[in-house]
Symmetry: D2
């Protein structure tokens, strides 16, 4: 960590600050320029509060040299993490495809879609039982009944299931859920993250609408610091000024997260764009830049989906996407 001091800082002030830094168990390196003096803090600075340092009257700015995340950091875990999920996994050579309806609506609906996506090559079934909606007047999901339906579909098809949690008090309902999803709006619901860190469930952590990649990794760190290393990262679009798509899919997140972290990275083109006809091109782009998998909304009757119908594929178009996904994977040496 480096602190740039303001012009005019006295030697006595520098001495004081240096003493305080040494008290924190760190070494101090001084570099005096014509206008500014720079103090280097050498050692384990992960416990140093950069905001506090920057607030000191003599400090102009502070720069961290090391990333503040440890468990998620590739520097300390050079190999890719592979997260086991039921009879399959996420990361490594497996290309994970989580497909299914935005909302669980009925057993018939989920069964039909589950069989269809399995036939097309999905490795997991997704479906929303608890639904975060902007308006309190919109459909909020079937809740516990929705999870029961997903479990039935898992029994019938063998597909592991992924569904979103909105409240740590609901955790007992998620015992047979294979992957627990944390939605974008809860990415910094730290109380929820801490509770999930106390389980050993695979967690699909979605990037918040306005969160940086470093913040995403710090939220992964919340889960991992609690002892649960089974975190799957998911990019699902960020909020920008462009209004033509619901969000802007940031695909450079894929190679960047792979560089910064050993955790697998999944792309959700359905929520990122909010437009069904953009799902295929964005899914193929995600494959081409190295994503470890996809999360795709599929509905047997998109026009009547209770939510997010605009972004759902039919089983037929999903099968077409999967065929092209396999072609691109194979061209790039995947399987």
């Amino acid at each position: 960590m480096i602190a740039v001091l303001k012009p005019g800082t006295t030697d006595a002030q520098i001495e004081n600050l240096s003493s305080w830094i040494k008290l924190q168990g760190l070494d101090v390196h001084l570099s005096r320029g014509s206008l500014h003096t720079v103090i280097g803090l050498v050692g384990d600075t992960s416990k140093i509060d950069a905001d506090l340092l920057e607030s000191l009257e003599i400090v102009e700015s502070v720069k961290r040299i090391s990333e503040p995340f440890k468990s998620a950091n590739r520097k300390f875990h050079p190999d890719d993490s592979v997260i086991s999920v039921g009879n399959t996994s996420v990361g490594g050579n497996i290309f994970a495809v989580m497909a299914g309806p935005c909302s669980v609506e009925s057993e018939a609906q989920v069964m039909e879609i589950a069989h269809a996506v399995k036939a097309a090559g999905a490795t997991m079934l997704r479906g929303g039982a608890f639904k975060p909606r902007t308006s309190p007047y919109d459909f909020q999901g079937l809740k516990a009944d929705g999870i029961e339906i997903l479990i039935e579909a898992k029994k019938e098809t063998g597909l592991p299931i992924v569904t979103e949690i909105m409240n740590a008090n609901h955790l007992p309902l998620f015992e047979e859920v294979d992957v627990i999803q944390v939605g974008a709006r809860n990415m910094q619901n730290f109380e929820l993250l801490k509770e999930l860190g106390r389980t050993q469930k695979p967690i699909l952590l979605k990037r918040g609408l306005a969160n940086t990649l470093k913040e995403l990794l710090m939220s992964a760190e919340y889960i991992m610091a609690g002892g649960n290393e089974n975190v799957i990262l998911c990019e699902r679009g960020i909020r920008t000024f462009e209004t033509y798509t619901r969000n802007t899919l940031d695909l450079s997140a894929v190679p960047l997260l792979h560089e910064l972290s050993h955790l697998p990275v999944i792309i959700d083109p359905s929520h990122a764009t909010g437009v069904a006809r953009l799902v295929k091109p964005m899914a193929l782009a995600a494959v081409a830049c190295g994503a470890n998998g996809l999360m795709i909304e599929v509905h047997n009757d998109p026009a009547h989906a209770l939510c997010d119908g605009a972004q759902s594929l039919t089983p037929e178009t999903f099968a077409d996407v999967m065929a092209s996904v396999r072609q691109v994977r194979s061209a790039l040496g995947g399987n």
Copy 2:
């Protein structure tokens, strides 16, 4: 609500859609242009899911005419809401000033600051007991002990207290808290909002970093739909590309929220800018554009604050800010 149909939509398709709309209890108005036909949905469209409508194959786009928030909407409640808080209130002629430390650190600290901010004109004491921090390794607050200290300070100074909640399970600890704050990261933690809607506590609802004013009002609506109409809105900066400040304070939110809603609007210049020396100019600007109050961080020893020291004022500079606030208020006819 208006739906623009795609070129080439057939009469039969239009007839089908019209029938469905009428089944929802709405009237239909058709307008045929050279390229596009437009369908107007007339009646109470608050239960219609715009996303669903937009997902239909024949629909090009959908536009809501009425805002989807009802309880927070000024159209149905033309008078300003005034929220009673202990011996004072927020909204109307009272200019609310919530001041105090970012984090509660000790009883001595809080007492000293509470007396100082009261003397300078604060109407409430703020302080963080549960702290949302980006990193799991940063100080997370004194929690229940912190709330105890705030209650002590309230007894001694008479100032009502404001503090943040991060988990609905902690609600029993907040019984003597006067205003419960929902932080920016939890603005769309709908489970928390619903629980707060079941209380009658005044709620200070902070705008999320990437949330629109309409989303802020929809989150207020979550609380109000549960029966708790005591919502105070708070703008605390949004995330933009500018890196010089921590966030970009969106002061146009003040007159806009006053136009859209009857709820009081508070500005937090400390978090918005992240820089203590910007608090005064931004506080005065907030007063000048009609804010109902301010939330300001004050620390007796900013250089050693456990968090957010960079944005805290000393009691002396806070008193100076308050003097100028009174001058601007008085120039504009406030008191």
Copy 3:
């Protein structure tokens, strides 16, 4: 075009507005709701100023039904445009690859790179002679001499050349340039666009850092309205809150621009990311989602490039990118 009127608008006011609309040669369709009346303007509304309409005291909001761009609009030109450039073209079945140094530095440098990128499969040579730099103290390019060097390289290799214009007064220098580039900072330099509309040169129009896709198409419209239909669109990253990359590459622009317009779309992964090691994954993603080509910076000695060295590939890594590009193209049925 639709205008939503405010609650309380009188019949006389509606009559007045309707008369004015009819005077503009348009038909009027009225739709009265419980709270709002909606006026539809039917006919060619491209000359109606939506801002003016929205400024009327009785109007709450205005929505355009038809896009305001005509020449660039796919609705009126369903077939893809193919732009001829020297012995090659952009659009259709040709996959265009414009490669070369950020800045032209010397004849030796450009010759070496030109041969190398041609051997690796580039279809055009790019190089900066006039350089837009944020700082007046940074290297501003070799200017006319730089263009001379590019023309020499074109003669020797047969590769058409692409280079940026910053001032319409420089047009005489661009006579032997095959594609004139308009940089992101000049996307709304309307005076420059108008001048380029008077030529018949192919124009590579880069999207501005904070410009929507509709604004990009309106800028293309400026060139096309002058009579020059040879416009190539280029996405090169937009400005967001994320700081890890220089910009955020918006790949959903590719299928969206193809849907809205018949013009070819090129991706510049070098400027979008600002990081050489992200160029390959983003180039492959661009191919996978249907881009008509790529613009890539290649330097024979990236460590000593006079500008933007951080984002340049070596000829060897460029050849590796091209090999993978061909694999993905071939997997998806391209050639």
Copy 4:
């Protein structure tokens, strides 16, 4: 300037880099940490290309300690600049108010508005003769005739005039113009900035929609480096995700620009919000946070303005704004 080296950099590589830095006339300070080595570049680093340094294989990141702008920097010019404009000035104790129509439409219009805004307290007359419009089909201004009309109004009222330039070739038309405005879309039209740097005209430089404060100051530096120190900065809203206002007015720019630079800072609430009824609250907020002046659109018949009517005040509402502006100025000790 500081360069953080990657883990694993060898002593020989560090020695090589150090030699190169010394060749540039700078001193080198080395600081070795457990993981990273940090190199400090000491001396005048304004000519060092940070991008080039960051592109080196052994460099992880680079941080500038000194701002790259010199002429605009308050560190080297501690006193506020006061720019003389005809019989008045901008900066210092004068509060500048530039008011007038968005577009010059006719002599009668401009004369009527000029007299009205002068009576209400404006210090300058603004009006658009060359108009940057997103669409080539929208009204582009009266051009030279518009400037003639402004000059007539100046003769009659004595008010100095402000109008926008879009093309350096038009400079001869601006001889009797007192302040030349560079619009937001041209903030990084460096060719135009260089030409304006060769004049001695006061330049009103508007911040681009997606430009940081540092980029605004670098654009000021382009003008100042040419010898013209008469630059007035103008904040007019930045582009964010919020759609309720046309742009988001960033008022923290006022105290920040005052801290970074000695140049005067003007606020344009009309363009920032795009909504006439927000002009007053935002104008008062600008005064309260220390702006040196305002630019406000005033129209005698806003409903029929040829452009931007949505954001124009009537002369009556402008007079009301001015009265409140004076009250806030006076409360804060201005005059």
